[in-house]
Symmetry: C2
Subunit: 234 residues, 2 copies
């Protein structure tokens, strides 16, 4: 059995993939009931001829997806899912490809259009203050002719926070940096559009402040128009 250390398509080392699939097979072979206890890490390590650390990594991965739950000094338990569901999820996790840039941008736009609607509907006074402060920072930095990518990011994150949906906020946090760090590479963000972005931002702010979700979405869409074209017209 080769266990190369090269990273796979979805960021999982192939050794980790192997272990995860073995755990899946074990769950199937033994007809595990939901909530049942997995064999101990040591036993699994011995059975699969890998180190215990590798087992722990694999378990941690599946724990991130909510499929397993480790209890200190007690054991690792499969979550309350049917075995067939567990199987399907693990299969998808194993074959999940690394998102390409277009997928990321597509997802980001889509997330933000919803987030800004929620923000317009649910924001508090403090949220509004933070958004406006972020926009002020972006404005001054941009007008000074300096690079304002960071301030732009913070503006959008402030809106995400104001959406009062922790789940959406987290998704936003997890996909944004990947996009930002690839921006230059893909030449998506033109510097000369930064000035006009100030006004676009302020239109969004105005719509949020006046609590008009639909308008906020439209204005955000305008702001994303360049990115949008990149996604759907190439």
């Amino acid at each position: 059995m080769r266990t190369e250390d090269i990273k796979g398509m979805n960021g999982l080392a192939s050794k980790e993939k192997f272990i995860i699939s073995e755990i899946r097979d074990l769950i199937n072979a033994k007809n595990f009931e939901p909530g049942e206890k997995l064999p101990s890490e040591r036993l699994l390590a011995e059975k699969l001829n890998v180190t215990r650390g590798s087992i722990r990594n694999a378990i941690q991965k599946l724990e991130q997806y909510g499929l397993l739950k480790s209890m200190p000094q007690s054991g690792t338990f499969v979550s309350d899912l049917e075995r067939t569901a567990l199987n399907g999820m693990i299969d998808q996790i194993l074959t999940l490809p690394t998102p390409d840039f277009k997928s990321l941008v597509e997802t980001r736009i889509f997330l933000e259009l919803k987030i800004v609607k929620f923000a317009a509907a649910r924001h508090t006074e403090e949220d509004m203050a933070e958004i406006e402060q972020a926009q002020l920072n972006y404005r001054t930095k941009t007008l000074a002719g300096e690079d304002s990518v960071a301030e732009d990011l913070l503006f959008h994150l402030a809106i995400a926070k104001a959406s009062h949906n922790a789940s959406l906020q987290r998704l936003m946090l997890s996909i944004t940096p990947q996009i930002i760090t690839n921006f230059e590479k893909y030449h998506v963000c033109k510097n000369n559009t930064a000035i006009s972005a100030i006004e676009e931002h302020e239109e969004v702010v105005k719509a949020i402040r006046t609590k008009r979700p639909e308008l906020a979405e439209v204005k955000m869409k305008d702001h994303f128009s360049v990115l949008y074209q990149y996604c759907y017209e190439t």
Copy 2:
């Protein structure tokens, strides 16, 4: 310095929070440039009076969000983000609350309505076969009067895969199990609605097969109507 082991609001142990915030402070104090190398794990551990393992955990967390990047036998580097952006992101990560059930459901519906549109537009023959097989499984299991929560989940995951957007698929994978495992607790999924769900599913399948994104979205929305009411009418 208290370092309780109790999990914080966002699933981060307070010790981890402390370390992450210290790392942030360090990056600020030393005016780190994008891409610069962080002090070694040993040095950080000594400086913060914690074990090296704790440092490694914190770094791993920030790596998940794409803010740091560990290079074997070389060092840990901050990603190519402005320091202000780094700061804002870390602050949000530290204060991110655990998503409540309503946030999760809200997000799931929203994701699926987009996913089904993409699936209708982009699915391949294999995708379609998998979706229809999943639906068949759901149908037979439900008609047999057995519990079909797992088959329902797999049906929706098959559609997510057919969206051909790895980013969306991953988001879907990461929020679904949390919802499923809380279903019973919140009594959202009534057993007696399962039969009618068969037809709703098949309407969705039909819309996907005939490549009508808008219709697919409508049909999916119908399918989620009960959940939707739970979200927005309580």
